[in-house]
């Protein structure tokens, strides 16, 4: 797949072709995954996996660095939403495997992660869905900001509203999210 086709998929999607998004997703996914693997193993990143960096790197690889701002923000927005889906789907599958396993009474496996103060990705997803029910744009802003590492201006451009509006959305959205995650 060339960067041309990604660009054209993007523009098709921007023009209302929902199927273009479905075609884009595996491309973005594959690349996100490949880039992530390298990030994780490279010393220079210190193994701090920043989805923001992944999304940006995927963008450069798939679309190229030298594209109009508009295409860029739209790609980032898509990648952010895809990232959210990849992460939550995976976690959900894992959780259902665990529950569906049935026979596991006990395990000697160490729990890998799990501190009382850390929310799970499913809690985060859940909170974002609830917010979408009352304020879809605020929820979307948070997704683009956190999963795509997009700036307020980029989010504003991607969603077609003023940066001031995104400022408001994100300020309240973050306060709300902080409350929700603390109460998990």
């Amino acid at each position: 797949m060339t960067s041309d086709s990604v660009t054209s998929l993007l523009s098709r999607w921007r023009n209302g072709d929902e199927k273009a998004l479905d075609d884009l997703t595996p491309l973005v996914y594959d690349d996100l995954r490949r880039i992530a693997g390298r990030f994780l193993r490279s010393e220079r990143s210190g193994h701090t996996l920043q989805t923001t960096a992944l999304v940006n790197e995927a963008f450069v690889k798939l679309v190229g660095a030298d594209v109009p701002f508009e295409d860029r923000v739209h790609f980032l927005a898509i990648a952010a939403r895809i990232m959210r889906r990849i992460l939550t789907d995976h976690a959900r599958r894992r959780a259902s495997r665990k529950r569906g396993g049935g026979l596991r009474i006990e395990t000697l496996d160490e729990e890998r992660v799990g501190g009382a103060s850390v929310a799970s990705i499913l809690d985060l997803d859940d909170a974002l869905c609830r917010l979408a029910e009352v304020d879809e744009r605020a929820s979307d802003s948070l997704v683009l900001h956190y999963f795509g590492g997009m700036t307020h201006a980029e989010v504003a451009a991607a969603l077609g509203v003023s940066p001031a509006t995104i400022d408001r959305d994100l300020r309240l959205g973050k306060a709300w999210l902080g409350n929700e995650l603390r109460n998990v």
Binding site: R41, R44, G46, T51, H90, A91, E106, G115, A116, D123
Partner: protein
């Protein structure tokens, strides 16, 4: 306020958005009022918006952390090894070994060495920015690198990558996780116990080097091919916590690193981590190795459920847990199969596994898993010991320890109720010392503390009517037996011997048996110097306590030397304003007061009070006694108002602290009586003295030096009231008690004799008075420094007797000497100076030197005018005789 209880709708959300925008535009101080005004009709809405204002400022970090964690799960599953060949510092990575809670672990080898050494490298997750943190980590690493034990994987090196990510280089252990190892080899219970015992010893070794593991669990213990268990990651949890907290500014990292199901109650509650934390970790490990399951089912629990189980719920013993799994509700067949599999893995049937665990093994594990750290095994070594005892089919210690603990707890709880005898009063002190030592984390000290505690337990047992066969054992007999056993049975253990001798010495001190006390404390100090070394903080404590005893004996010079040394040590170690110094200063005040060096005593007492005031909350009783000693000093100086104020403050502090049965209460009551008496409130004073005698007998037993001292004061009061017959009886009782408790060669004996001489003189038994006073002066000359105020008192009294007997020539010599001593410490207008001057005036009067007599008598009568009592009457009588003689002289002329 949670959204779970607050229904949102798009309309409501819009309202919230506008309120939120409005309120965040305001300064913090105005927000609450603004919100109340704008949502006056809807308090739930107001509270909700207010809760949003308080929202976690760290939400960005939380969300990013969550996303990064999920991304690792998706993308980060180790598979292909693209890392091989990359370098970290001087190490070349060979392959990924796995991912630990704290980061990735790689197998690596030193790239530029002649011989190749394989190592394991742990890479942190976070970048370090702060050079101070890096310095601290390096320091911690150095401590860990010194830990050398065959059961512990060595830490070789560490550093930070060029990007500032910390890493640790450790000995590479080619082995299998301990639980997997046990299951692979189908090890029976005894083999598992033996492996466990070796792990305990390794942990114990680390504890003796003051290193705590903090995260003992199966994945941190590998067993090598030859069957040696090796502990990984000793102390690493602390390193990574420090790094995480420093880089994130959050304690969150600690929570991630800590596996909640492996956490101890104190870790969850945020209390200090000690060696007892590892004992708990070992208990959990043994639980899992033997029973194959955790104490509770982790899978179905949220972190807060787990926290509740760990901190609050009574955990089932392993045998109980397995029985419940077999017979409990729910998935019977699967559960039974699971238990059968576990038993089979240990070459036992289900029933036999349960029976094998029941009893000792349940007890050992549950003792290690006590919620309260202090109730667990005192050390990993003790846990190893009990495991060994069990393996040898010998009785384990765990049950005994539980009993000791309960006993100590009971005595502490029933402080007042139990404190009915001298025995309890003194052993209470002993126990409180044990308990405070137990709170320290250093393993060796805890071992010593527990030995002491066991020893005292034995003494308590002797009090058991069955064991003592109804004999009425006194405190002294118990202590004598205790000292004998310490000397004979513990010869190879100088540290424990020292601690126990000190404990016994303090108990003897509390019983007023100062010779025995000082002997034991001196031995404790000698042993302590030899075994702890002279720079150990306990040495200063021992010096102080020995000095305290020597002051009573008295051996002032040696006491002063010890106190000076202790004070110097404490000032250097803890600072000049430390509470340890306050106690030394207090004893120095006591010492100088006893020596009659009033100005110095006052200076030390003031310093001591100033320090204790800063520790008022934690040391109320010490503050009270420091105030009281200043009171006594000021009383000597004649500042009775301040004395009374200080004493009342001291008594009030004790009452407020619920310490009315504290020995100091007896002292304070006595001193209050003394004060009231000197102010002329004789009835009140007598009541205070009687209360003091009663309290002393109740708290400390009879005979006791404090009772004798109070008797003296009461005798003095009766004397002042001219109730001479009773006064003589009371003073003779005091004298006998002082000789009984302090021995005949003691200043207090001279003091009582002086007093008795005075009373006998007043009763008209002049010969008896002279003999008694001469005995007192002879005694003082033998045991006190020349020029002591006690000697001056006895000389003044003897001078009075000599005046009565018509031997004023001898009286003058004596009284001149006494006056010189008085003026050394007291101002010329002090009543004690006046008393000696009045007697000297009388002597000159009787010798016919009216000029000298007049000068002495006039001034002393004036001074004594405000001091009611016999002294004033004698001075007045002498002055009247002088005046009569003078007027006779005028008439004759």
């Amino acid at each position: 306020m949670s959204s779970a209880t607050f229904e949102l709708s798009p309309e409501r959300w819009a309202r919230i958005q506008s309120l939120f925008d409005g309120v965040t535009a305001l300064p913090a101080a105005k927000r609450e009022a603004w919100l109340s005004e704008h949502c006056g009709d809807d308090p739930a809405l107001r509270d909700y918006v207010a809760s949003l204002l308080l929202a976690d400022p760290g939400v960005d970090a939380t969300v990013e952390h969550t996303i990064a964690g999920a991304a690792r799960d998706v993308f980060g599953e180790p598979g292909d090894n693209e890392v091989a060949g990359e370098t970290i510092g001087p190490y070349r990575i060979e392959r990924l070994l796995g991912e630990g809670g704290m980061g990735m672990v790689y197998l690596a080898s030193r790239a530029d060495e002649q011989f190749e050494q394989q190592v394991a490298i742990k890479l942190g997750r976070h970048r370090l920015i702060d050079p101070q943190t890096e310095y601290r980590l390096r320091h911690e690493r150095q401590i860990l690198a010194d830990l050398d034990h065959p059961g512990i994987a060595r830490l070789f090196d560490g550093g930070t990558t060029n990007e500032g990510v910390p890493y640790i280089v450790m000995e590479y252990i080619d082995g299998v996780r301990i639980d997997t190892y046990c299951d692979l080899h189908r090890l029976g219970i005894n083999d598992r116990l033996e492996l466990f015992r070796q792990i305990c010893l390794a942990v114990h070794h680390a504890h003796q080097n003051l290193i705590i593991h903090r995260d003992i669990k199966p994945s941190n213990i590998l067993v090598t091919e030859d069957g040696t268990p090796k502990l990984l990651d000793f102390g690493i949890a602390k390193l990574t916590d420090a790094a995480g907290a420093a880089t994130q500014g959050l304690t969150q990292e600690g929570a991630v690193v800590m596996t909640p199901a492996n956490a101890t109650p104190e870790q969850i509650l945020g209390q200090p981590v000690t060696t007892a934390t590892d004992v708990y970790g070992l208990g959990l490990l043994l639980y899992r190795l033997l029973s194959g399951v955790r104490p509770f089912n982790v899978d179905s629990m949220t972190p807060s459920d787990i926290a509740r189980w760990v901190c609050e719920e009574t955990l089932p013993a392993p045998s109980v847990r397995l029985q419940r799994l077999r017979h409990g509700p729910g998935n019977h067949a699967a559960a039974r199969a699971r238990v059968a599999g576990i038993a089979d893995g240990r070459r036992l049937t289900e029933e036999r596994l349960v029976r094998r665990l029941r009893g000792d093994l349940d007890t050992i594990i549950m003792q290690a898993l006590s919620k309260e750290p202090a109730r667990r095994y005192r050390s990993a070594g003790a846990l190893a010991e009990d495991t060994e005892l069990h393996l040898k089919s010998m009785p384990i210690q765990a049950r005994r320890d539980a009993w000791t603990y309960r006993t100590a707890k009971f005595v502490r709880r029933h402080y007042v109720g139990v404190a009915a005898s001298a025995l309890i009063a003194s052993l209470l002190v002993a126990f409180s010392i044990v308990v405070s030592v137990q709170n320290r984390t250093i393993a060796a000290e805890r071992d010593t503390a527990r030995e002491v505690s066991r020893f005292l337990e034995d003494i308590f047992r002797a009090r058991d009517p069955v064991q003592a066969r109804g004999a009425n054992i006194t405190a002294n007999e118990l202590l004598a037996e205790g000292s004998r056993r310490i000397r004979q049975e513990l010869t190879g253990q100088p540290e424990i011997q020292s601690t126990l001798m000190a404990t016994m010495g303090r108990a003897y001190y509390n019983l007023g048996e100062y010779d025995d006390a000082s002997g034991l404390l001196q031995q404790a100090l000698d042993l302590g110097n030899a075994s702890f070394g002279s720079s150990h903080p306990d040495i200063a404590v021992l010096q102080n306590d020995l000095a305290k005893t020597l002051i009573r004996i008295p051996e002032y010079a040696r006491a002063e030397e010890l106190l000076t040394s202790a004070l110097r040590y404490n000032a250097e170690r803890y600072g000049e304003d430390s509470v340890a110094c306050a106690e030394n200063l207090f004893q120095l005040a006591e010492l100088h007061l006893k020596k009659g060096e009033i100005a110095e005593a006052e200076r030390y007492a003031e310093s001591s009070i100033a320090l204790y005031e800063a520790f008022r909350e934690s040391h109320p009783i010490d503050l009270a006694k420091a105030k009281s000693i200043l009171g006594r000093i000021l009383q000597v100086r004649g500042d009775l108002d301040r004395t009374e104020a200080l004493l009342l403050e001291a008594i009030e502090i004790l009452e407020r602290e619920g310490a009315s049965d504290h020995p100091w209460m007896a002292y304070f009551l006595q001193n209050l009586g003394v004060l009231q008496r000197s102010r002329g409130d004789l009835d009140e004073a007598e009541a205070s003295f009687d209360a003091a005698i009663e309290a002393t007998q109740r708290i400390m037993g009879r005979p006791h030096t404090l009772i004798a001292a109070t008797l003296i004061n009461k005798g003095s009061l009766l004397h002042e009231r001219a109730d001479l017959e009773q006064a003589e009886a009371v003073i003779r009782e005091a004298l006998a008690m002082h000789i009984e408790t302090l021995g005949p060669e003691h200043p207090m004996v001279g003091y009582d004799q002086t007093f008795l001489g005075m009373v006998l003189h007043d009763r008209g038994d002049v010969a008896g008075a002279e003999a008694t006073l001469n005995a007192a002066i002879d005694l003082y000359e033998r045991i006190l420094d020349p020029g002591h105020q006690y000697t001056a008192s006895a000389m003044t009294e003897l001078g009075a007797v000599l005046n009565t007997r018509g031997r004023s020539d001898r009286a003058v010599t004596l009284l001149e000497e006494a006056l010189a001593i008085r003026l050394k410490d007291y101002p010329p207008d002090h009543p004690l100076v006046a008393a000696t001057r009045a007697e000297l005036g009388d002597a000159w009067l009787r010798l016919g030197d009216h000029g000298r007599a007049e000068e002495l008598l006039t001034s002393s009568t004036e001074t004594l005018a405000d001091t009611p009592g016999r002294r004033r009457e004698r001075a007045r009588a002498a002055l009247e005789r002088l005046e009569a003689a003078l007027s006779d002289g005028v008439e004759q002329r």
